[in-house]
């Protein structure tokens, strides 16, 4: 029934990546078909747990990354000399490829979800930090001076004037960080962190239906998060809609 040459090819190419190759998946796995609708509709529930894990990984990582990056940005906003070293430091974390980052943590945290979350949060720092700084820098001096003239303290200027005006840039950073993290979190599977990369590694590269499903779900999550954050930004900065050209 299934083409033996193809099964051999699956074994050869995907060596080490097929942990569960049950007889029920084999017919679809070993066909040339781009997408087996039958298999997909029967086995879609297999992707539920990885999807939830994926969402959890992304949500926790982006949240931690945001809190740290935002705190660093506030610090660098007050002490300007901190900006270059913080930019360079987060830049290094951003440049290290995620797959490598997961395993640099191997001697410290081993494999698993915690390792994945640390690496993914570290990855988001640069984007959120840089965008928040850009947001603060873009606040017109005149507005800050006006707020001072009205008798606002530094703290009031920050929270009532600078922060709201910097929201679009901060949200843009959050959006880029979230969308990238959704995509990159597929690599967490290499480090035993779960998520939608796991079915990809388990299914091997010849199992196209599985690749399309897992990759497609990931892509859809990324795009939805991107759109949700975009909508949220528009909601939170109503004054922008009026002045936008």
């Amino acid at each position: 029934m299934a083409n033996p040459a193809l099964i051999a090819a699956v074994g050869e190419v995907g060596k080490g990546f097929i942990h569960e190759r049950t007889s029920e998946t084999l017919p679809c796995q070993a066909t040339d078909k781009l997408f087996c609708w039958g298999w997909a509709s029967e086995h879609i529930n297999r992707y539920e747990t990885p999807t939830l894990q994926h969402l959890e990984l992304v949500a926790i990582s982006v949240l931690i990354g945001f809190v740290i990056a935002f705190a660093l940005a506030l610090l660098a906003h007050r002490h300007h000399w901190l900006q270059p070293p913080l930019l360079a430091g987060t830049g290094v974390l951003y440049t290290i490829p995620s797959v490598a980052f997961f395993f640099l943590l191997l001697p410290l945290t081993g494999r698993g979800e915690d390792t994945a979350i640390i690496a993914l949060s570290a990855y988001t720092l640069q984007i959120i930090f840089r965008n928040t700084m850009i947001g603060f820098a873009n606040v017109p001096r005149a507005v800050v001076d006006a707020a001072r003239g009205m008798g606002q303290t530094d703290r009031q200027v920050l929270w009532r004037v600078e922060l709201p005006l910097a929201l679009p840039e901060i949200f843009a950073g959050l959006q880029v960080a979230t969308v990238s993290t959704v995509a990159i979190a597929t690599l967490a599977a290499f480090a035993g962190g779960g998520g939608l990369g796991e079915p990809i590694l388990k299914g091997g590269i010849s199992f196209k239906t599985n690749l399309i499903l897992a990759g497609g779900i990931t892509f859809l999550i990324a795009v939805s998060f991107g759109l949700i954050l975009f909508a949220l930004q528009r909601l939170l900065t109503p004054w922008r809609r009026v002045t936008q050209t």
Binding site: V99, V182, F190
Partner: protein, 240 residues
């Protein structure tokens, strides 16, 4: 609990990883096969660099002319933005695996798959870089009688160098990072140490992670240095 901790397999150490990088050792899985050592490290590094350079060149050839043209014309902003944003949402692992399934394994096919990751940042940055150039500078050039191509080559591109280069850096980092998982598509890069833990052991995995991180950082710092050299002196004096 303590029993579980004690029975967990020994994890990697920095010392073990360094030893793996410099001295070939016998893999405890594949029955006497020699793994690690500086020769294998160099071979895999060169493979990863080759793949990165090929994919980067391909994506530059595809994306830059389009971005420069659209930026010069000032049209297609939506197109450039959508491609840039959608590019970030592509899961690398699925892309590599799917392209390998679709067109087969090997350097050429992987080059194609990796080039897809380089296109979005290159396209967006070339568009934005050229589009941002001060219109009065362009008008002045036109008034001097420059042709459209001359304006692009002599005015817009030099002024857009920082943004263009930022695009090249993003693309390079994305490509070299993803070239790490190339072994799943049949091309052995440094990622092989990371992915095939059963062959190289945990020290090999850590060694691979260190080497991949160093490779990416070296590329990033070299490109940053190159960018400083290529940026015209006038632009450096007046940072916008």
């Amino acid at each position: 609990m303590i029993g579980a901790l004690a029975s967990s397999p020994p994890l990697a150490s920095i010392g073990g990883a360094l030893e793996f990088i410099f001295t070939p050792q016998t893999s405890n899985v594949t029955g006497g096969k020699t793994v690690g050592g500086i020769d294998q490290v160099i071979e895999l590094t060169l493979n990863q660099l080759e793949l990165t350079v090929l994919a980067l060149a391909l994506s530059v050839v595809i994306a830059m002319p389009i971005g420069l043209y659209l930026g010069h014309r000032g049209t297609g902003e939506l197109f450039a933005t959508v491609i840039g944003n959608a590019g970030r949402a592509i899961p690398e692992l699925a892309l590599i695996a799917f392209m390998a399934a679709l067109i087969g394994v090997g350097v050429l096919n992987l080059t194609l798959a990796l080039a897809i990751l380089g296109i979005p940042p290159l396209l967006t940055n070339s568009f934005v870089g050229i589009h941002q150039v001060d219109r009065s500078a362009v008008d002045a050039a036109r008034g001097m009688g420059m042709t459209e191509f001359e304006i692009l080559r002599k005015v817009e591109i030099p002024l857009a160098i920082p943004t263009l280069f930022a695009g090249i850096r993003s693309a390079t980092i994305a490509i070299v990072a993803t070239a790490t998982i190339a072994p799943i598509a049949g091309v052995l890069t440094l990622g092989d140490f990371i992915i095939n833990q059963n062959v190289y052991g945990d020290n090999g995995v850590l060694a691979g992670a260190i080497l991949v991180a160093l490779l990416a950082l070296t590329l990033e710092f070299s490109l940053a240095a190159l960018q400083r050299r290529l940026t015209s002196k006038g632009l450096k004096l007046n940072p916008a």
